[in-house]
Symmetry: C2
């Protein structure tokens, strides 16, 4: 069982987030990798709304996840996926074109697709701001065009690098964020790839573990939330 | 000399770009890594304005760089930096906390800082569009806040992971893009870090090599440019 209170691997997540973020916090990626490879981990939960100042010394922007692996400390979920990937060939091929494909697609998720998702999130968070209402249509076009190319590149392959890899953990979680904003509807092959990823037992276990860790008694009071 | 016409390493770049992009095309990152480690490479130049359709089979979005290393084919400059990094410890430490720091900061450049630069570029490219004019002030605030945290995290260290590494190649080139939009002015320590990076002979050689490869006779005619 990946949750193992004696493990030297510690994943930091949040103790509570609002409903729209539940299941989408990025420690999900690290948990998923551990579940795929049967790597035991325990969690350390911090407040997302009253983020401890000391945490910025571990993560420049106060984001999660960070990972401790014995004496090693890592930030950025992409680097954490690489680190966990090196522990098990089922997560990251060791050599050759398969490794090149896995690392190429890993960075593609983080640098070519997710930045568009970030921008859409900022549009959504801005709500009724004039710039956001005016920006949304052209941003949707930009994303649709990027996803067209992505769908062509993925084609009918099951996983990005041949066998399943950390690249799929990254790309599936990124596409899942876009799907939540109805952006995958015109891309049935990408939607199918997303469903394949989410159907994996390791994804389901990781998602359940993240959801189980949220504690509603840690929610900020309404005054803080405003 | 890194430019070596017999090398099995081939970096794909563009044969011409408009003046504002000269010196900023991302094959610069791959060239810089090669220059740091004395890894010979040759170039294959394609048109940015009449991008060959076959190139999308090598890079989903038709972007450069891609890298060939013998039989291995790689896309995404972050993955290329990792691949080149594995060839030389001066680019990427092999083990321990130094490697964790280098990969963490590498992803930080690609996923936590550059997405903001991408959004600012889209604002700048949109010119007089209403959304862009309305968006720019709040985006500048978001970027300033992210750079405050970055400056605190970098502090007075010379390089991100102790010794110079591929993480610095990524972060310096990302900050250089923001600097071109006057976004580093309130962050003198980051500006100093940027200047240290750009002062490296390997950066200067890589920049000169990219600039030397642009061929004005390959510019699209004015009608195509419009």
């Amino acid at each position: 069982m990946p949750i193992d209170q004696s493990s030297q691997i510690v994943i930091t997540g949040f103790d509570w987030v609002p409903d729209f973020a539940k299941g989408y916090v990025r420690d999900l990626r690290a948990r998923w990798a551990c579940e795929e490879a049967g790597i035991g981990y325990r969690t350390r939960l911090i407040s997302a709304f009253d983020r401890p100042e000391w945490f910025y010394a571990e993560q420049p922007w106060g984001q999660v996840p960070v990972l401790k692996d014995g004496d090693i400390h890592l930030f950025e979920s992409g680097a954490i996926l690489l680190h966990l990937g090196e522990k098990d060939e089922r997560l990251l091929p060791r050599h050759g074109q398969a490794r090149a494909d896995a690392t190429g697609w890993l960075f593609a998720a983080y640098n070519s697709v997710e930045p568009l998702s970030f921008e859409m999130t900022r549009v959504a968070m801005a709500g009724d701001a004039d710039w956001a209402k005016l920006r949304e249509p052209s941003l949707r076009e930009t994303i649709a065009s990027a996803l067209d190319r992505l769908q062509t590149a993925i084609g009918d392959r099951e996983w990005l690098a041949g066998a399943f890899s950390v690249a799929d953990i990254a790309m599936v979680t990124v596409l899942r964020e876009l799907h939540g904003k109805d952006l995958l509807d015109p891309h049935p092959d990408l939607a199918g790839y997303l469903q394949r990823g989410m159907a994996r037992p390791a994804f389901q276990s990781a998602l359940a573990a993240q959801l189980a860790d949220f504690d509603d008694s840690r929610a900020p009071n309404p005054k803080q939330e405003a």
